[in-house]
């Protein structure tokens, strides 16, 4: 983050920021090298391209469909996203580990009566792991993994501000809403910190009112009140500061960062939608027995 940005250029100021804190939703993105094409695609094209498939995947019960979409998402990300260490960790470790975990969890959790007819794979004491159980688990794990991976296609390659700008510029979302949402992003770490202080304060004063879930809920409510009070005050202050800087002066505002919707964005969107449709058509996962 040291190299100088192009002087006064209208392009987003700021070089690649690979070492930005991971939770920074504002981290600037560099003008992407050619091979990381996903970063250069309009955020709405990316989002529009994956959302239909994500929604449909919720209703899928087979193994092949989610696997196909998982492969599609990975193909896009591995060829088109900037592969930082964090990205690679998510893609190659976190997502597979999550899928595996859900698979095993559901395999254990599923009602054995439903899968009693399938061949047993293993036995621990009186409990038998049926192939069907593993199948149900894998279907669930892969389904969640595929939905997540499709989300990452957009999530890993889009910054919050760009998404807001695209929303304002193409969808004509009023900028007041978009930028307010952006300002609200900043509350999150602050709230987290504040909550930890409040909990420490309450802990040190001691609890009474007993143990058990209800007492816990009552105590949880006890931390919410101070958090809300300070949250509302903070929000009011932010709102005043924004008003004082002419926020909402006109129905539109100058946009220095244009996020155009070009022909290639339309092409990307269309390609993604057609591919999704083709995959669903090929596997047609509905109407099949579980």
């Amino acid at each position: 983050m040291t190299a100088a940005a192009p002087d006064g250029a209208t392009s987003p100021a700021g070089p690649a920021d690979e070492v930005a804190p991971p939770a920074d939703p504002f981290a600037p993105q560099a003008a992407a090298p050619r091979h990381t094409y996903l970063h250069a695609i309009n955020p709405l094209a990316k989002l529009g391209g994956v959302i239909p498939a994500m929604l449909l995947l919720v209703f899928v019960r087979d193994l092949v469909t989610p696997l196909a979409f998982l492969a599609l998402a990975y193909a896009l990300l591995l060829t088109g996203a900037r592969l930082t260490r964090r990205t690679l960790t998510i893609l190659l470790l976190a997502v597979p580990a999550g899928v595996l975990l859900v698979t095993l969890a559901f395999a254990v959790w599923v009602d054995p009566a439903l899968v009693a007819g399938t061949p047993p794979l293993g036995r621990i004491g009186p409990w038998t792991l049926h192939a069907g159980a593993l199948g149900v688990g894998a279907a669930t794990g892969l389904r969640l993994g595929a939905i997540l991976a499709l989300g990452l296609v957009s999530g890993l390659t889009t910054t919050g501000p760009d998404l807001v700008r695209a929303g304002v510029q193409q969808l004509r979302i009023p900028y007041r809403i978009g930028y307010t949402a952006l300002a609200a992003y900043r509350f999150v770490p602050r709230f987290g910190y504040e909550l930890s202080v409040i909990r420490a304060a309450h802990r040190v004063r001691g609890h009474h009112g007993g143990r058990g879930p209800f007492a816990r809920i009552a105590r949880g409510w006890g931390s919410i009140v101070p958090l809300l009070a300070s949250g509302i005050r903070h929000a009011e202050r932010v709102a005043l500061a924004m008003d004082a800087r002419a926020f909402g002066a006109f129905p539109t505002r100058t946009e220095r960062h244009l996020v155009p919707f070009r022909r290639r964005d339309a092409a990307f969107l269309a390609l993604l939608l057609v591919t999704s449709a083709a995959l669903f058509a090929a596997t047609f996962p509905w109407g099949l027995p579980l």
């Binding site: 504002f26 040190v204 202050r237 002066a249 006109f250």
Partner: protein, 595 residues
């Protein structure tokens, strides 16, 4: 010479917040002209901040308040123009730098206002660059504002105000959240802006030392919100000093130091406003053969009573906080204390190793003894670990086991019931520690926890309510109290358990002079009653005047610790200018030893 036309014209202005019964400010009139740097003073509740909100139309447009009288900005009545339109004439800088950030980079942040004004992009960039260069942030333009220091973020807020190209800038306590280095940083930027003859600055500040250097005019609101004084800093701060003190308003530190020295028999005349004036007055005094009290003092000896202000017997600080041989057993002892970020929430269920393992250490290998009956101040720059140390000693952040003893207890393993009987912690923000729905229950909480009989609870709570002047608020929700009442209640909730040690995190932060003095008097009372008091503070004047012992932290380690006089005359602490102007041998005279 004709005066320039006023930029802001306030006429008979009374503002009543929704829900408040009385207006504050009340009937204020003033003309603010280009070239003026106006310092707006007043005790808590006098309506300073409210008045600032009216200067750019946030009242009445964004904040609900009843308005009588008028405010005109560049000839336009603020009630008829929009805030956005007024923003090109009057810009604002608020107290909390974090509550003013919207975007993701320094450059976008400065561009925010001009973009809202629909200026063409090249003009937006030109303005942003000029504002950032002026505040020394141009090199940081690509950074996330979160990466700037507190002072840097506040300079960014000033740059954002500059980018509106408004001739008037209103700043509401811009350095209140900053440490001394950050405050210097902000005032360096402001001094340059203030030098512009076409510009009007309105500044609300508690810390007058820096502000008085740039101010050309002082307005003072009294407790009722009426305009009490209006004049040059000389006229008001020097000649009206006693009136301002009586109103509860802070004075420049040099002035307060000089007043204290006068009380102790050192003739400091005239009353200085700056450290330079204080230094000169003291030099003149010494040259005139004055300084009779100083002959009774050997330099660096904090325990010798000044000849003309003998402290009562028995309150002289113990010889050494750091356990000199023969000293009484310390009430708090820490050995090899390490605390890292993200330690376990539940001290009793996790092994102590978790505190020393992983994460960034906040405290590194701290060894510390605190003498029973002392008033010990923990000082150090932002991020040194002051609050963490105080919290670890009080068991708020669980220290590793067997590293800390407080009055015979290990805070790592003691239950809250045991712990609150020995040590109480007052958080910087009183609201954080409120757990009950009424003031009475808030005070009774600690007693119910240890199953004190109801009759006794009523009696002790009643006593505490009376002591803190909260008797008429017993059934009110703690969140509905005023700022000062909340602070008193938070201290009361800790004192009701009669702990041996009370720990306070920045107890005077953001309070007016009268309230800060009130709280400090209470701490002295406690100490006289045998309670050990520990406080975290940035305020070296408070340390010089009130603490018996000082612990200086730096990067999580103890730089030095010992009796106040010894530490303040040593090389390890950097004193604020007004204290530096006082020679070592006179400094013990500043100590408050109430009779």
């Amino acid at each position: 010479m004709p005066e320039p036309a006023p930029l802001i014209r306030v006429r008979e202005l009374s503002l009543t917040h929704a829900g408040a019964s009385d207006p504050a400010p009340r009937g204020v009139s003033a003309d603010l002209r280009p070239g003026e740097v106006v310092l707006l003073l007043g005790p808590s509740g006098s309506g300073k901040s409210t008045l600032t909100l009216a200067l750019n139309g946030l009242i009445p447009h964004s904040v609900d308040a009843a308005v009588e009288g008028s405010v005109e900005v560049a000839g336009r009545d603020t009630s008829e123009a929009t805030v956005a339109a007024l923003s090109t004439t009057v810009s604002m800088v608020f107290q909390d730098p974090d509550a003013q950030l919207v975007t993701g980079t320094v450059l976008d942040e400065v561009a925010f206002a001009p973009e809202n004004l629909r200026l063409p992009a090249p003009e937006v960039l030109a303005r942003a660059e000029a504002a950032l260069r002026r505040t020394g942030l141009w090199e940081r333009r690509a950074d996330n504002p979160d990466l700037l220091s507190g002072g840097g973020r506040q300079r960014l807020a000033i740059a954002c105000a500059l980018a509106t190209a408004s001739p008037a800038m209103v700043l509401d306590e811009p350095t209140a959240n900053l440490d001394p280095a950050g405050a210097d940083d902000v005032f360096d930027a402001l001094a340059e802006i203030a030098a512009d003859p076409g510009r009007t600055l309105v500044l609300v500040e508690h810390d007058l030392d820096r502000a008085v250097r740039i101010a050309t005019r002082v307005l003072v609101l009294d407790r009722t919100g009426a305009l009490a004084f209006d004049g040059t800093p000389e006229e008001i701060l020097r000649d009206r000093a006693e009136d301002l003190i009586a109103m509860g308003v802070w004075l420049p530190r040099s002035t307060l130091v000089a007043r204290r020295l006068r009380e102790r028999g050192i003739a400091v005349d005239p009353l200085p406003l700056t450290p330079e004036e204080l230094g000169a007055a003291l030099a003149a005094h010494a040259a005139a053969g004055g300084g009779a009290p100083s002959t009774a003092l050997s330099p660096g000896d904090g325990t010798a009573p000044p000849a003309d202000a003998a402290p009562p017997a028995g309150v002289a600080p113990p010889a050494d906080a750091t356990a000199a041989p023969g000293a009484p057993e310390p009430i708090i002892r820490a050995r090899g204390l390490w605390v890292s970020r993200g330690v376990s929430r539940r001290p009793s269920r996790r092994p102590s190793r978790s505190a020393a393992r992983g994460g960034t250490p906040i405290l590194r290998d701290v060894d510390l003894d605190i003498a029973a009956g002392s008033l010990t101040a923990i000082v150090g720059p932002n991020g040194a670990g002051k609050t963490t140390l105080a919290q670890a000693l009080a068991g708020v952040v669980p220290p590793p086991r067997r590293t800390v003893t407080v009055a015979g207890l290990d805070p790592a393993t003691a239950s809250p019931r045991e712990l609150t009987g020995k040590v109480g912690f007052v958080f910087q923000n009183p609201e954080h520690q409120f757990v009950a729905a009424t003031v009475f229950d808030e005070l009774a909480h600690g007693l119910r926890l240890r199953r004190v009989p109801d009759a006794e609870i009523r009696e002790r709570v009643g006593e505490m309510l009376a002591r803190f002047g909260l008797g008429h608020k017993a059934t009110v929700h703690p969140f509905l109290l005023s700022g000062g009442e909340k602070r008193r209640l938070s201290v009361g909730t800790v004192l009701i358990a009669r702990p041996d040690v009370v720990v306070l995190d920045e107890p005077t932060f953001g309070q007016d002079h009268a309230r800060a003095q009130e709280l400090l008097a209470l701490l002295h009372d406690l100490r006289r009653g045998g309670t050990t008091v520990i406080l975290v503070t940035h305020d070296m004047h408070l340390v010089a005047e009130h603490a018996t012992h000082v612990v200086v932290l730096e990067e999580g380690r103890i730089r030095t610790s010992g009796p106040t006089a010894e530490i303040l005359s040593g090389p390890q602490v950097s004193l604020p200018p007004a204290l530096r102007a006082v020679p070592d041998h006179l400094r013990p005279l500043l100590a408050e030893e109430r009779t």
